[in-house]
Subunit: 149 residues, 2 copies
DNA sequence: ACACAATACTTCGTATGCGTAATATTCGTA
DNA sequence: TACGAATATTACGCATACGAAGTATTGTGT
């Protein structure tokens, strides 16, 4: 199969969809007065709201990001006052990442923005269709995963 | 609707799917000996293989990218020898972008890599499912589009 | 106990994208 | 025709991601 028009190419559609939702999230955060929360922070915040004191590698694993990516991401999050790093006393290679008060109290607004933004982005898509979409995307990820070994 | 696990969040799935395919494309290009062709070049090359001498804004429109993004992209493509810019004599604001010989001859290998990479990434997804996926993604783009005005 | 492998994290260079502002040119209208 | 609006491009700062390579620490096999 060869894809001619951009709107016929799944890669184009995926990239664009990701970018427009990222933009919408950024805008939504600004409007809601939590503009310091960048879209990339979400994966980390989500993990830490569940379980605090995770290490860098573990956060990366959960968000699907490389450790080297996490470093810069956590630098920005620390700069913006959402998390702190704390050396682990057991294993001194490890940095424990924990939420600040600001990181904790942001949860409500942030979850709200994400929900509303996704609802808008996915408007007109039924529950069933959404499930199908997610299932297909999971299959793409599974393909990539099995490819790498 | 609130999304708990990453694999339950459409935004996470979309981002990850985009990134893994981008990675796969990069790797595929390298293996095929056209490693200078970066994934971002594809949108521009596609447009120029169709019609040469397009201006920067038009290339951006077709690829879904901002003009300011195009500048850096075209800089890299020029550096890597795929395109040249040429001032338009009619309208001196305009830069005509045209393919070099290298840019033209790359078409066959590049299209080949893209086809094979997408086939692998989308393995196990039927024609019908792929159509559905594309339709849903187009709807997301349409939503974003109508949102912005 | 010691050499070597594995793990955790960071640093650095590069790619990719956006938005804002600056510059140059052209267009439309009074 | 002069002038403000629109258009085309670039410049700059920032966010986000990867991979390769470096550093520190821990684990393992002999």
């Amino acid at each position: 199969m060869t894809f001619i028009a951009p709107t016929d190419c799944p890669y184009y559609l995926l990239s664009r969809a990701t970018l427009v939702i990222t933009s919408a999230l950024r805008a939504g955060m600004n409007e809601a007065g939590v503009g310091h929360v960048k879209p990339s922070y979400l994966g980390v915040l989500w993990s830490l709201w569940e379980e605090e004191g995770l290490k860098v590698v573990e956060l990366g694993r959960r968000a699907g990001l490389e450790p080297s990516t996490m470093t810069g991401l956590l630098d920005r999050m620390e700069r913006d006052g959402f998390v702190t790093r704390k050396a682990d006393t057991q294993d001194r290679r490890v940095q424990q990442v924990r939420l600040t008060k600001k990181g904790r109290t942001a949860q409500k607004s942030v979850v709200d923005v994400v929900d509303k933004t996704l609802a808008k982005a996915l408007a007109g898509i039924s529950e069933k269709e959404l499930e199908k979409l997610k299932e297909l995307l999971r299959r793409v990820l599974a393909n990539a995963h099995s490819e790498n070994r």
